[in-house]
């Protein structure tokens, strides 16, 4: 671990170009912007948190360090993998297996004099409200929807008289990406826009089990049906080459049986890990856009993004910059419950399966209640057993039209609320 070194005095020329922006008013600068030494000092004292030290995170740490931020924290629970090296430029082959947060922090501190980066090799859920409260800005470079929902809800919950922490979020896929600024409770939050994600196209189990047609069907059969059958409780480790090879071999044999061409090792990995293509250049664009917003918010030197920029690079260059609307019935930052139409003849279990199809209602371990009774509780064990028979019951036995259904999950710091209406 790097220790804080005593800093020699920086040459005043080092930050000359950044200072030009901070000591001069621009034609678009906000009225409240006071050019001079103050924004510089403010930047140096401001605590900023980076979540993720991967493709976006490496870029974000570099960018913040070269934007005058001096007190940066970074959280990432991952270790470095060989397939990271085509874009995560703070890592070398010798770093494979080490903590991303620690290696990234040490590298940037060594390269950019005077910046302090504090790494945490842990999950974001391991930190409490007091920890998050110390930051003035959070910049997020994650590939997980779940983690984004968690930090978003946490920052919305923290909003109070003294606290409002802007969340700047980036994401990429191939040549495309987006950057956005979320002012919790003021502008639209991450949860408000979950319906922009494409719903999971789940392949019916019967297709996997009896009528496969695509190479992906054979691979999913191997991982979803054949693995538990042959390996019992052993969990699949997507990064263990032996496991991947086992799945690949099984999928290949099944494909041969049904004359399905196209199963490859790379495709096997892609399907089971849900691999999203990622390249350095797209990460650079999105991370830089996020950090540009962080600098503008921290210094008020120029107006910041309100609130969403999409970048598309696979056909010419196209950006769409717009204000995404806040949702009044957003379960995190809104006040109103959402409407939910259900088939009264379907069972509670079927309803729970249906909820998993849409990203905005996908939860890992959902517990369901109406205002008058508990329908299904995942924990404690006793209550789970007590409520389990409800799963088989039809919805019209459990609730009435107009009832409020509330769904909670131990992994999410908020509840989903729905007003039920019936329709078959």
């Amino acid at each position: 671990m790097a220790t804080t070194t005593v800093l020699t005095t920086e040459s005043p020329d080092r930050w000359k170009y950044l200072n030009n922006i901070l000591t001069r008013r621009g034609p678009y600068s906000d009225e409240t912007f006071e050019p001079g030494d103050e924004p510089k000092a403010f930047l140096a004292d401001l605590k900023i948190l980076v979540i993720g030290a991967g493709g976006l995170g490496c870029e974000i740490l570099k960018n913040l360090a070269l934007s005058g931020f001096k007190d940066i924290h970074v959280i990432d629970m991952d270790t470095i993998d060989i397939s990271n090296l085509n874009r995560q430029f703070l890592f070398r082959e010798a770093d494979v297996g080490k903590s991303k947060a620690e290696v990234a922090a040490a590298f940037v501190m060594k390269r950019v004099r005077g910046v302090k980066i504090t790494p945490f090799n842990c999950a974001i859920q391991d930190k409490d409200d007091e920890y998050y409260k110390q930051f003035k800005i959070v910049v997020c470079g994650l590939d997980s929807v779940e983690a984004r929902r968690w930090i978003n809800a946490t920052l919305v919950n923290l909003v109070g008289e003294e606290t409002l922490i802007p969340l700047i979020d980036g994401g990429t896929e191939g040549f495309k990406g987006q950057a956005r600024v979320i002012l919790p409770t003021i502008s639209c939050c991450y949860e408000c826009t979950l319906d922009m994600l494409t719903p999971r196209a789940a392949v019916p189990l019967c297709t996997l089990a009896s009528i496969p047609r695509q190479p992906a069907h054979c691979i999913e059969w191997a991982s979803v049906i054949q693995w538990p059958k042959e390996k019992g409780d052993l969990k699949i480790d997507m990064d263990d080459p032996e496991h991947v090879t086992w799945l690949y071999t099984k999928a290949l044999a099944r494909a041969k049986e049904f004359n399905i061409p196209g199963v490859t090792y790379a495709m096997t990995q892609g399907v089971i890990k849900n691999i999203i293509p990622a390249i350095a250049s797209t990460n650079a664009i999105v991370a830089a856009s996020c950090c540009n917003e962080a600098l503008k918010i921290a210094t008020t030197a120029s107006p910041y993004l309100d609130n969403y920029m999409m970048y598309t690079g696979d056909e010419s260059v196209y950006t769409y910059t717009f204000q995404h609307e806040k949702k009044e019935d957003c379960p995190v930052c809104g006040n109103l419950p959402q409407d939910l139409t259900v088939d009264p003849e379907s069972t509670l279990e079927q309803l729970m399966e249906k909820l998993q199809e849409k990203p905005e209602t996908t939860l890992k371990k959902p517990s369901l209640r109406t205002s008058s009774k508990s329908l299904y509780l995942q924990a404690p064990k006793q209550l789970e057993e007590q409520t389990r028979p409800n799963l088989e019951k039809k919805l019209n036995e459990l609730m009435e039209e107009g009832d409020e259904l509330s769904i909670s999950d131990p992994g999410m710091p908020f509840n989903l609320r729905f007003i039920i209406s019936f329709s078959s």
Partner: protein, 541 residues
């Protein structure tokens, strides 16, 4: 590891990008040699994004020594670099990123190289010009590179503003990566497909002859073709042509369902709007067929034009149809039925490919070239993408600046204060300021606090001079947006903000990757980004 098909070490490292551009794209990157003129922050960031995915080589030409200011914006320099060659130090730190990439540097100016050794430019496959380069140098560089078909990227990055101008000559793209290449041939089924429809779906209304299971597993393509036969028999042998007829056709399909949860029929209904289109050759493909180069083949013609001519002839012999790509989407069906249908489409695609390969080899023979000069795999890729190809004919910087400027683009945007044309004009004025003969040290506008006001006026004057030269009339109000853009540019004092440099490096690297791999569609020819409003705009100057 001895598993057949398991990835090599290189495939593991590049896995996330190979899923975008494949082995062919990677090979193209690995044979590229990129020249960067001036190791600015934006230039170094661009190279970073090209070294990481594994370009073959890069060279940096720069005669500057590293200053403290460089350290505040360029990540590929450190304290120990101060006072040393900027080309050398950035080259060294960039090389650390990927041991497979060769980097070299030249401590010189591009002006000297253009003067003393212009032949050297032939070594490079792509050139990036960044930093404060005067117009005259840019134009000579363009004049040297454009005839060689070496793409030149001119990159400007000042404060919150950036622009990138690419001078591409002829740039055909086959692998444009469309969302789908599916052509079901519903309106012109080939004999093998018709035979399968008769065999499998001919009895789809007969509850005596078909089980419920069979009915619920008929592939939707066969359902559509069978129902089309019935429709045509009552509609003068014509398929549904307009929106209301298509809706009628959907009702016909719905009436053929045996129960409400037949997913295959739902799939058929959903396929009517996207797939019921009369066959036609898309505009971009037609433009290629109509191009002079397509008809006037010679020994020197590139593979692209020869294959394009072959496909044009194929299409003329086949009622205006392009070769079948052969892709089939997934659909509810029994495994064996789906595979059989898939094989019918694939076999047709192979037959079409064989016909095109034959025409290609005849053309090559006519041209007096070996008939197997063009590999079949290349013809196959073209056939699969025949309806999705794209030809870009770019313009040189000399075209834009001197020979045939497009004043119309500027004048039409001038009155819109939110247009990024104002930043384009501001950056052109910046370039004119740098190019001023009296400004021998190439000091940037706004470099000192004391010169901000005077420099602002100078840039305004450069803009009005440019507008006059282009015979664009304007009123002072029209220039309100431009004045603000100039204000921002002078504010930066010629300095880069690292975030904007990094974003620039991302945009330019994406474009270079698209150009080198000849995959996806590059921007043509100018993109401007404003980091205040976080917007881009593309112009074809």
């Amino acid at each position: 590891m001895s598993v057949p098909g398991a990835p090599t070490a290189k495939e593991k490292k590049y896995d996330r990008q190979l899923r975008l551009w494949g082995a062919g794209g990677q090979e193209a990157l690995e044979t590229a040699h990129i020249l960067l003129i001036n190791a600015t922050a934006a230039g170094s960031e661009t190279l970073k994004n090209l070294v990481l995915p594994g370009i073959g080589r890069f060279t940096i030409i720069d005669n500057a020594v590293v200053t403290d200011e460089d350290l505040g914006t360029n990540f590929f320099l450190d304290d120990s670099s101060i006072g040393l060659s900027r080309a050398q130090k950035t080259c060294e730190l960039l090389c650390e990123l990927n041991p497979e990439v060769q980097g070299s540097f030249v401590n010189d100016t591009i002006e000297n190289i253009l003067k003393s050794n212009p032949e050297k430019l032939k070594e490079y496959t792509t050139v990036i010009a960044t930093g404060d380069i005067p117009t005259a140098t840019l134009l000579s560089l363009d004049a040297a590179l454009y005839p060689l078909s070496t793409p030149l990227f001119v990159v400007k990055c000042v404060g919150f503003t950036m622009s990138c101008r690419v001078a591409l000559s002829e740039h055909p793209i086959v692998e444009t990566h469309p969302a789908s290449t599916v052509d079901l041939r519903l309106f012109n089924p080939f004999p093998e497909l018709i035979a399968l429809v008769d065999e499998k779906a001919g009895l789809m209304d007969d509850k005596e002859k078909m089980t419920t299971h069979e009915h619920g597993h008929l592939p939707y393509v066969l359902i559509l073709l069978q129902a089309l036969k019935e429709w045509k028999s009552t509609h003068d042998n014509a398929p549904p042509s307009n929106y209301s007829q298509k809706n009628e056709f959907k009702s016909l399909l719905r009436s053929k369902m045996w129960n409400a949860d037949e997913e295959n029929f739902e799939e058929a209904i959903a396929a009517v709007l996207p797939h019921f289109n009369p066959p036609s050759i898309p505009g971009d493909t037609r433009a290629v067929f109509q191009d002079k180069k397509c008809d006037e083949l010679s020994k020197e013609s590139s593979h692209f034009w020869i294959i394009a001519q072959a496909i044009k002839q194929f299409s003329e012999k086949n009622d205006g149809l392009l070769p079948l790509p052969g892709a089939l989407p997934d659909m509810k069906a029994e495994s064996k039925d789906y595979i059989r249908l898939q094989n019918i489409y694939k076999a047709k695609a192979r037959a079409d490919l064989a016909a095109v390969v034959q025409i290609v080899s005849d053309l090559l023979t006519e041209l007096g070239v070996r008939a197997d000069k063009i590999p079949e795999s290349e013809v196959e890729t073209f056939c699969k993408h025949a309806g999705y190809i794209k030809l870009i004919r770019g313009r040189s910087l000399n075209d834009e600046y001197e020979k045939s400027p497009k004043a119309q683009i500027i004048s039409s945007d001038l009155s819109d204060p939110t247009s990024l044309i104002h930043y384009y004009l501001g950056l052109r004025a910046y370039e004119a300021y740098i190019s001023d003969e009296k400004n021998t040290r190439r000091i940037a506008p706004g470099a000192e606090d004391s010169t901000v006001d005077a420099d602002t006026e100078k840039l305004k004057k450069h803009v009005t001079e440019l507008l006059d030269k282009l015979s664009i009339t304007y009123s002072p109000e029209l220039l309100e947006g431009t004045e603000k853009a100039i204000g921002e540019i002078v504010r930066a004092g010629g300095g880069e903000l690292h975030n904007i440099s990094s974003l620039t490096g991302g945009i330019v690297a994406q474009e270079i990757i698209k150009v080198i791999t000849r995959q996806y569609i590059p921007m043509n020819n100018t993109v401007v980004f404003d980091g205040i409003s976080s917007r881009t705009q593309v112009y074809q100057f």
